[in-house]
């Protein structure tokens, strides 16, 4: 049963993508979109129950364990939210001419092809398949980033495809090196399967694994948006259509983090945990520090959120770098929290931008007066992103911090705290200025569309819930996932 699900899961969005090519009607397309995402959620929940009862399952090149399940659940929930959001967003985008009604089928088909490649990256056990699917996500999403077809969109798309393709070719090199180390130990043809490599990991040659891990870290780190390889991220995340921005920021960079975690476990077994943790710590700190000035000085709302993703990916890397059960648990929880919150923030920002016809935060004023529900949701997202209690990101940042204190990384903790406080002030300043005050005359006063609100409320509910309490089932899953990483 669970084994069957492993190949059915990537098939669902693939079939949906093909079905979407056959029709050009917006209503039918949206129906397939929401329907296929709902099926994906249902099947994933079924798989989660099977795995909880019977442990990791594998089938050929696919494998699901508790670690992969954390990322898979985030992926399918956000995909569903994006599908619901798209219904209303698309109606508005077609009306103002941002999306061409005749090219909708290719847009939807690409989004689902993109989702399918992400599902494969999460389920891949074979490290080669992981790489192939990761490059597949670049190819499908690059077209989506430049989908609006204007000058900035095309520039962002080009930068994105070139920087991430070259980046993950480093990832392939690292994969080849670790495969070489494994083939050397196993003799014969060797294997690229992560679970098989993990079994022999302690006997791998530490020298090759070390170089391999650095290559992988640069490679998948580029895709994850870790500084200093993040240069494509603010452009791509800000120029893409809003639903795609949410998928890029909420899910795709997390898939790259999962790839890094997989290699981290191999490196930790082969050359001791300290080496991999140090590398992650350095990249995490650089990301947090580099993102801060850009967040403070930013005028473009979606670019602000893009730089914010760099900061939060940095925090996840810090959590993994601090290591231990607490740091790793915090990092995994942060992956979930940031994914949910960032998607919510992109949704709220997208509706605000559509209402004011501008992405410049100086033009967006008095959102509360024209769109009270949307403004409330934007404020909630901003408060959570800034790390205000009782929202979910506060909890995971605290756990990451505790992981650091447990291992006495005082310098890293000091830098981290200063940056978080500065970003906190900067973000609340930006958000407050947008929400309050007199609305500009140019602002649209149309009533708020229901489907974007529904999608945002779904995410806001999860965000608030995870801040107040972590349900026992989620906690158990995260604990088991942490065990996969730290052993």
């Amino acid at each position: 049963m669970a084994e069957t699900l492993l190949w059915v899961l990537p098939l669902v969005p693939t079939v949906a993508a093909l079905a979407m090519l056959t029709t050009g009607d917006r209503r039918i397309l949206s129906a397939i979109d929401v329907g296929s995402s709902a099926v994906l959620v249902a099947l994933t929940l079924l798989l989660a129950r099977e795995v909880e009862a019977g442990g990791p399952r594998s089938l050929g090149v696919f494998r699901v364990d508790d670690l992969g399940l954390v990322f898979l659940l985030l992926l399918v929930v956000l995909t569903l939210a994006v599908s619901i959001y798209t219904v209303g967003w698309l109606r508005q985008a077609v009306a103002v001419g941002n999306m061409k009604a005749e090219s909708l089928r290719s847009y939807f088909a690409l989004v689902h092809a993109f989702v399918a490649t992400m599902v494969v990256t999460v389920l891949a056990d074979n490290l080669g398949v992981l790489w192939i699917a990761m490059e597949g996500t670049t190819i499908t999403s690059a077209v989506l980033v430049g989908y609006h077809g204007h000058r900035h969109g095309l520039e962002a798309a080009w930068k994105y495809i070139i920087v991430t393709t070259i980046g993950i070719s480093f990832g392939l090199f690292g994969t080849v090196l670790i495969y070489a180390a494994a083939a050397d130990v196993m003799g014969g043809a060797g294997t690229m399967s992560w679970s098989a490599i993990m079994e022999v990991a302690p006997t791998l040659d530490p020298g090759i694994v070390r170089i391999g891990f650095i290559f992988v870290m640069i490679g998948y780190g580029t895709k994850a948006g870790l500084a200093p390889m993040h240069l494509w991220l603010p452009d791509a995340h800000s120029q893409a259509p809003t639903p795609v921005s949410a998928l890029l920021s909420g899910v795709l960079i997390k898939c790259a983090l999962l790839a890094i975690i997989r290699f981290q476990t191999v490196a930790a077994a082969a050359c001791g945990p300290a080496f991999a943790e140090e590398v992650l710590l350095v990249f995490g700190l650089i990301s947090v520090v580099v993102a801060t000035p850009f967040i403070l000085a930013q005028r473009d709302l979606k670019r602000l959120l893009g730089y914010h993703s760099v900061e939060h990916v940095g925090i996840v890397a810090l959590g993994l770098g601090f290591g231990g059960a607490v740091g790793t648990y915090g990092a995994l929880l942060h992956v979930v929290n940031h994914g949910i919150t960032k998607a919510l923030a992109f949704f709220a920002a997208g509706t605000a931008i559509a209402r004011y016809g501008s992405r410049d935060m100086r033009a967006i004023r008095g959102l509360f007066a024209v769109a009270p529900i949307g403004a409330t949701l934007l404020m909630l997202a901003a408060l959570s992103l800034a790390g205000v209690p009782p929202f979910s990101i506060f909890v995971s940042e605290l756990l990451v911090l505790r992981g650091g204190i447990g291992h006495a990384h005082w310098v890293a903790i000091a830098i981290f705290l200063v940056m978080v406080v500065v970003i906190f002030a900067g973000l609340l300043h930006h958000a407050g200025a947008m929400a309050f005050g007199e609305p500009a005359a140019a602002a649209s006063r149309e009533p708020e569309a229901w489907s974007p609100l529904l999608a945002m409320m779904l995410l806001a509910a999860i965000m608030v819930l995870l801040g107040l309490t972590i349900p026992a089932s989620v906690d158990g899953l995260l604990r088991r996932a942490t065990e996969v990483v730290v052993g």
Binding site: N126, G128, V129, W131, I132, E135, G136, T138, I139, A142, V143, G146, G149, H150, R151, H152, L154, E155, A156, A157, W158, K159, I161, I162, T165, I166, S169, F170, L172, F173, V176, L177, Y179, A180, A181, A183, D184, G188, A189, G190, M192, D205, G207, I208, I211, P234, D235, Q239, F294, A297, Q298, R303
Partner: protein
């Protein structure tokens, strides 16, 4: 073939690969860089054939054939087609002078050999000097992309980078699993097509070269 002669041939091919990389780095006109990367891919295919004969691994023959067809013939042909289509006459100056690029390149090669030499057991896992050559090609491909602003130069740099990875992958004891190599090559083809379409689309919709798109900052 004896193990010794395979080592020698792989090392000789590695030297030739580095030579083609220098040609790419120094190429003033784009079509020269494209011919150089085609020659480089041809050398990779030959290396695949040699390693296939030496190890008796049939998969490597398939990989060598696909490399020859796709990377040495089809992709350079697509690039040349785009060059003709765009009617490129103006040459964009490199960001830093070619002499400085070549100096950097020498440093990268020396560093790659130095790093690999520090790995004792690598000789068991990877044939000959395939590892340092692979690392050097990958990094030098990035150097091409960083110092050249035109879209086609960047694509050439990308292909050169991937050649480096393929060379190292072939030299791992038995080569990578066939299905993975095929998947990787498929990705390369798709990425190249999407990039070529983007280059043409930028030309037709905003009447600009990729090199002149520089408005997204900060």
């Amino acid at each position: 073939m004896s193990a010794e002669s395979v080592y020698t041939i792989v090392d000789d091919l590695g030297a030739l690969l580095l030579f083609t990389m220098i040609l790419i780095l120094a190429a003033g006109q784009i079509y020269r860089a494209i011919y150089a990367v085609a020659a480089q891919s041809l050398l990779i295919a030959i290396a695949g054939g040699v390693l296939a004969t030496a190890t008796g691994n049939v998969d490597l023959w398939v990989i060598a054939g696909v490399t020859l067809g796709v990377k040495a013939i089809a992709l350079p042909w697509v690039l040349l087609w785009v060059v003709r289509r765009m009617n490129v006459r103006r040459e964009v100056e490199p960001v830093i002078p070619v002499a400085a690029t070549l100096t950097l390149a020498v440093m990268v090669v020396v560093m790659s050999f130095h790093v690999s030499a520090s790995l004792g057991s690598v000789r068991h896992a990877i044939t000959g000097n395939a590892l340092p050559v692979g690392i050097a090609l990958t990094l030098l491909g990035v150097l091409v992309m960083a110092t050249r602003k035109t879209a086609l130069h960047q694509m050439v740099g990308l292909f050169a980078s991937e050649n480096g990875i393929f060379f190292t992958a072939m030299a791992v004891t038995q080569g990578m699993p066939l299905i993975i190599e095929i998947g990787v090559i498929l990705d390369v083809i798709l990425a190249a097509l999407v990039m070529a379409i983007m280059v043409l689309r930028v030309r037709s919709t905003v009447d600009a070269d990729i090199a002149s798109l520089d408005r997204l900052r900060g």
